[in-house]
Symmetry: none
Subunit: 205 residues, 4 copies
């Protein structure tokens, strides 16, 4: 969550922690149903059975709410959640199986993108909450493979780690094509693996 604050004072009625989850769920649903532009803060509040003030007490703007609504949906995947299959190819496959329902994120990102150039701190949050975790995930798998000696020496791990997010974002946001299995396989087998491991070795010796 973006909203710890953990103020040292605790006068008056404490915040009802259950509202956070209701509001975030409402935000995610409205976002999925209507898209970023047509989703309204009043609509989110109403769907959550909350008042607008309760929403704004927790999130400073529509953009920040959306970030959290979306970030907390896939908070789960840490590098260590991806099982070590012994090969980069197997690890990437396992990752894809884990993030089967990550798609809502991109819907949200769509609405935020227009604000990023004019709101640096918003961009920072998006980077930190949405972008970096995904890049880091791939990067961790690449480093794991490097320790196994799979990678071509001198390969630019940062550049490669950014490729899957970029390709996925472009496909969903711009092309509008679905994130089907064939595409995900192409990303790993025809882009990432060749660049990272050179030829076809993969798990084979």
């Amino acid at each position: 969550m973006t909203t710890p604050v953990s103020a040292p004072r605790r006068l008056g009625r404490p915040r009802d922690a259950t509202r956070d989850a209701d509001i975030l769920r409402a935000a995610r649903d409205e976002l999925a149903e209507r898209g970023y532009e047509r989703m309204t803060m009043s609509g989110v509040a109403a769907r959550a059975g909350a008042g607008k003030a309760t929403v704004y007490r927790r999130w400073a703007s529509k953009a920040e709410l959306v970030i959290d609504a979306v970030a907390c949906g896939s908070r789960g995947i840490a590098p260590e959640d991806v099982p070590d299959t012994g090969s980069l190819r197997g690890d990437l496959r396992a990752l894809h199986d884990l993030k089967h329902r990550d798609e809502g994120i991109w819907q949200a990102l769509a609405g935020l993108v227009s604000e990023l150039p004019h709101a640096p701190e918003l961009a920072a949050v998006v980077d930190e909450r949405l972008v970096r975790p995904r890049v880091a995930l791939v990067r961790a798998l690449l480093e794991r493979a490097d320790r196994r000696g799979e990678l071509i020496p001198g390969v630019d791990v940062d550049l490669l780690a950014g490729l899957p997010p970029a390709m996925i974002a472009y496909r969903l946001l711009v092309s509008g094509e679905p994130l089907d299995d064939e595409f995900l396989r192409a990303v790993t087998d025809r882009v990432l693996l060749p660049l990272a491991t050179g030829g076809r070795r993969s798990s084979a010796s």
Copy 2:
């Protein structure tokens, strides 16, 4: 232009074609100065010395105006504009030199992205006017290279042609990093060329 229609009738005063250009220029300037969200139709009309009705007579919404404003800005680059340097690497380099000021496009795309999933015909126009020309450009260079025998046999040209737009869009829209020369060189030398031509051969040496 999105608005030819080429109506066969010619009753009444014809549209003043000079207004189109004025409005599109005004739209592009406002967009660059203020960003998609903060750009207003009144502002565009005023800067163009036009009335709002004149703008809305030509474009049904802000989104459609922005598409055209942006699409007509880089209409210029056709595959044959890129000189044949004899190698894929040289051709891509030449392309980068040509599109030095293409960046405004992405600023516009930023604002449109949130609307695409809910406006299929808008998505179609974006695809046709913004996305496809850029993909086709790279694709044409790849096919030229293939005719020279540079490409790995069986390589997925469509997949590769989409990589530069995806990486550029992601960098500008999401990461917010600049399109510097180092990045563009990395895209070609460390991603596209290895995938397309395998190792280092190219035709040279």
Copy 3:
């Protein structure tokens, strides 16, 4: 008509005089159907099968068109059209019979009233074309009665002549009540005649 202009030059195609009548009729119909505010110049032109320029070439504004549309509807009644019945009461009765379809005028006046304080020349036209003829009519009948010796000596003929228009305008524009026969009879028998002739004399009995 307000539009003589009667320019001494006659170059080019002369104006099609039939358009005047068509436009005026269209204006009167639109006015009756939709009221002043909702009547539009485009609508009038379209109904008349004319272009807006043709309308504006003849009348400088909506208000002036409406004045003419309405004034030419009751242009007919001149003082000498009212038969001399031998008594003021009879003359007024005869007048009422003549102006049975004068009502459209007031509908038009309704829309003009809001402009009068800010458009003196418009007010002058309204006065000259709509108000004065009606006042003059009553005034003529009063003077005719005076020559017959019916009037109280020293009575203010101007004041009295303005009473029927004022009462009719108020009833139609403000009260919204119909111009029924009972009301018209009250205006003459219970207001105008008592004030003009004192008691009950008139010439009769």
Copy 4:
């Protein structure tokens, strides 16, 4: 006020009653300065320091706002505010002294008149708020005079009570002449009194 509604529910933030007065005053000022057509809702809101939504939350249209703006301006004069001078003539004189600044009302009425035939409920409000109180005022004075025995037996009080409003409205709205003292004196001394009391008796006897 037209907007009591006196809803039995009291959820949410209650309307700020001070905004009503501010907006009405702003509306009256704009109306007086610029006239009905040229007065704008944005201008009223801005002058009141309010947002347009706050205005439209209370009044559904420009016309309704103007009615209230104008009606609440002269709410003050009740029949009992007019001192009993002992004669109809004296009472009417006292009335004229009271309503010295009632003129703004007619300016507003001017703009509304064109809407009345097509908006019955608007007409009803105008009748109830603007017309009837003024008629009732004169009527009350006439009835007071009747109790004193001043009136001609059988005189039509309703007809007479409508005469001053009609004459005043006509003079201001149509003739455009000022409401000077001479005119007001003529209305009472040469129209109303003769019709109501017959000859010249008035208080003398």
